[in-house]
Amino acid sequence: MAQINLLQAINSALDIAMAENERTVCFGEDVGHFGGVFRATSGLQEKYGKARCFNSPLVEQGIIGFANGLAAQGTVAIAEIQFADYIFPAFDQIVNEAAKFRYRTGNEFNVGKLTIRSPYGGGIAGGLYHSQSPEAYFAHTPGLKVVIPRNPYQAKGLLLASIRDDNPVVFFEPKRLYRASVGEVPEEDYQLPLGKAEVVQTGTDITLLAWGAQMEIIEKAAQMASNDGISCEVVDLRTILPWDIETITNSVMKTGRLLISQEAPLTAGFASEIAATVQSECFLHLESPIARVCGLDTPYPLALEKEYVSDHLKVYEAIKKTVNF
């Protein structure tokens, strides 16, 4: 097992997917010869040829429209949107088309072979158009799966599972961790399950739940809280849609408390769905209100990014407040 970073893990998953099936193609803006602006597709065109790994014109709605057509035809289509902030021009092709393809055709056709990869999230001084976390926009869309990994090991296993899953998957990659997150990753093929949360650390006083780049933040906060004698159960949701209600409610039944940390703005974010479901499923077990630590209800800022985002200190404070309710 080698120590590699999150980008390399993504690249390795793509390499395996392209090697195993010659009907797998990768494309998007600057994805070809250049290997993508973050270099996630580095070397793939060289290895698999220009027909299977190529630059698309600069048109997100075209990228996903084209990918929908490819997937309907039976080609394994892995489309990259250069930044998650630029996924919105493709919103109709994702939400009205990809998500509803199988349903509306009565399963005559489907785009299960589609995977959309896109770097998301803040912390890189990117301002409002290079920092967004748009997962909640897709979570209200039956038919899609939405997956977000927290580290290189997760990234490779979840991306391979996403590519092979027979449903359209939106796969958001925490770009702040692309080079910052390094870990042991097997060179060979493996998959991690979609739709399954992972209990990363067991605990008894409160459940801390997050996904993607927020995971290291809640882990850090859990560490701080443990110095105060608070025992946190730390859970990585991993798949936003369809989400693993069972693992989360089991954890909350045990701890009696839940805190969700999310980078996106508070209002109508995915943390709200979780809180709404858990208050209903675990009503009699809850010892304090479910806490949501989120971005403010503003666009993502630049200069005051630190003040804006959910960080370990805010989470730590919210843990104390929840436990001492």
């Binding site: 009907r23 193609v25 027909a51 299977r52 190529f54 698309s56 014109p57 048109v59 709605q61 075209g62 996903i64 429209g65 084209f66 990918a67 929908n68 057509g69 490819l70 997937a71 309907a72 035809q73 039976g74 080609t75 289509a77 021009p89 109709d92 092709q93 009205n96 088309e97 199988r102 349903y103 509306r104 055709t105 009565g106 399963n107 005559e108 056709f109 489907n110 299960g112 039956p142 038919g143 799966k145 027979d166 449903n167 739709g195 369809p242 209600i245 069972e246």
Partner: protein, 393 residues
């Protein structure tokens, strides 16, 4: 390699503009309304068998449209859209292709399905959203589709099929198939961003796709001069560097000829082609529409005189491939068949309650199963409120 244009192109030293008139776009016409072909016209590949099949399809199309509008007026059907006056585009397009070619329709191309053998029952089951509908009763009437016939199910969202067609065709090419994708759309839909995306990507990726624009003069109430200022849709082919032809859309032989050439070119060169068929939507936009609010009877009458079905019939008569006896018998037969099929289809049950949650994902999720169970329990509690499903599971 980037543009090497600096010393390549023509140069001027006085400002020189181009505009919409810079390119002339002639319209291909082969068949006159009276059934004779133009002298020296370049005929398509067509024999009596194919001609008869095409004409019968056109006839069936007329009958189906007429009967379904009547059914809608009687309140038996919720909604319908005819293709009155522009049937040659869809039927001729399909007739120029091979069965393995994918056809993506907008919604006014029931003729392609008919030509490929979508049965009366298939049509009816879809329109009556019953348990036998291939689409499982989930889309409004006229949103047909068939995997077996390589006809992609219609989606209401306009123009989304255009970049999808580029991708589908690119997939066919990657596999080395002898197959193309033909994509129909209206001149209104061609205003969507997806049109630009799809044509440009097909050109750049060299996908074997035939973009077939039905320019029928209107998008609901909006006439073409409020839709664009260029010379139709064909003039856009210049900008995409795409082989492009304009044809008389009411001329079945022109449709056949252009599409046959386009297919051969798309397969051989592995490049896209754009066809613009000039026609006119003789009927309302749909059964919900009344065109008298936005256009004149005179305009309609003018186009009535270019009727594509009458034109083909005249040709068939001249060829001695058809006569009035056959004509009467055929229309009568179709009318009876359609009427009978309506009566059967409207009595078939609605889809089973379990179809509420299938096909959202490949396999229903635990949450969906729980939601379905809750609905079932509720239906059992209030059976009279849910007559389509109560007592049927």
């Amino acid at each position: 390699m980037s543009t090497e244009i600096y010393d390549d192109g023509p140069v001027v030293h006085q400002p020189t503009f181009i505009d919409g008139t810079s390119v002339e776009i002639p319209e291909l016409r082969i068949l006159r309304q009276n059934g004779t072909t133009y002298p020296k016209a370049d005929l398509p590949d067509i024999d009596q068998a194919l001609a008869t099949k095409i004409y019968q399809t056109l006839a069936f199309h007329r009958v189906l449209d007429e009967r379904m509008v009547a059914s809608q007026r009687q309140g038996r059907l919720s909604f319908y859209m005819t293709a009155l006056g522009e049937e040659a585009a869809s039927v001729g397009g399909a007739a120029a292709l091979q069965p393995q070619d994918m056809i993506m329709m907008q919604y006014r191309e029931q003729g392609t399905l008919m030509f490929r053998g979508f049965s009366i029952e298939n049509f009816m089951n879809q329109m009556f959203s019953n348990a036998e509908d291939l689409g499982k009763g989930r889309q409004m009437p006229i949103h047909y589709g068939s995997k077996e016939l390589n006809c992609m199910t219609v989606s209401s969202t306009l123009a989304t099929q255009i970049p999808q067609a580029a991708g589908y065709a690119y997939g066919q090419k990657l596999q080395g198939l002898d197959a193309v994708t033909l994509c129909y759309f209206g001149e209104g839909a061609a205003s969507e961003g997806d049109f630009h995306a799809g044509l440009n990507m097909a050109a750049v990726q060299e996908a074997p796709v035939i973009f077939f624009c039905r320019n029928n003069g209107y998008a609901i109430s909006t006439p073409t001069d409020e839709q664009f200022k260029g010379n139709g849709i064909a003039s856009r082919g210049v900008g995409y560097g795409m082989k492009t032809i304009r044809i008389d859309g009411n001329d079945i032989l022109a449709v056949l000829k252009a599409t046959q050439i386009a297919r051969a070119y798309a397969v051989k060169e592995s490049k896209p082609v754009l066809i613009e068929a000039m026609s006119y939507r003789l009927g309302g936009h749909s059964t919900s529409d009344d065109p008298s609010g936005y256009r004149t009877k005179e305009e309609e009458a003018k186009w009535q005189s270019h009727d594509p079905v009458a034109r083909m019939k005249n040709w068939m008569l001249k060829q001695k491939w058809w006569d009035e006896v056959k004509e009467t018998a055929l229309f009568e037969k179709y009318r009876e068949e359609v009427l009978a099929a309506v009566k059967v289809a409207e009595k078939i049950d609605k889809p089973h309650i379990d179809t509420m949650i299938t096909d959202v994902y490949d396999v229903p999720t635990a949450q969906l199963k729980a939601q379905l169970d809750a609905v079932k329990a509720h239906v059992n509690k209030y059976p009279e409120a849910y007559p389509f499903t109560a007592g049927k599971f």
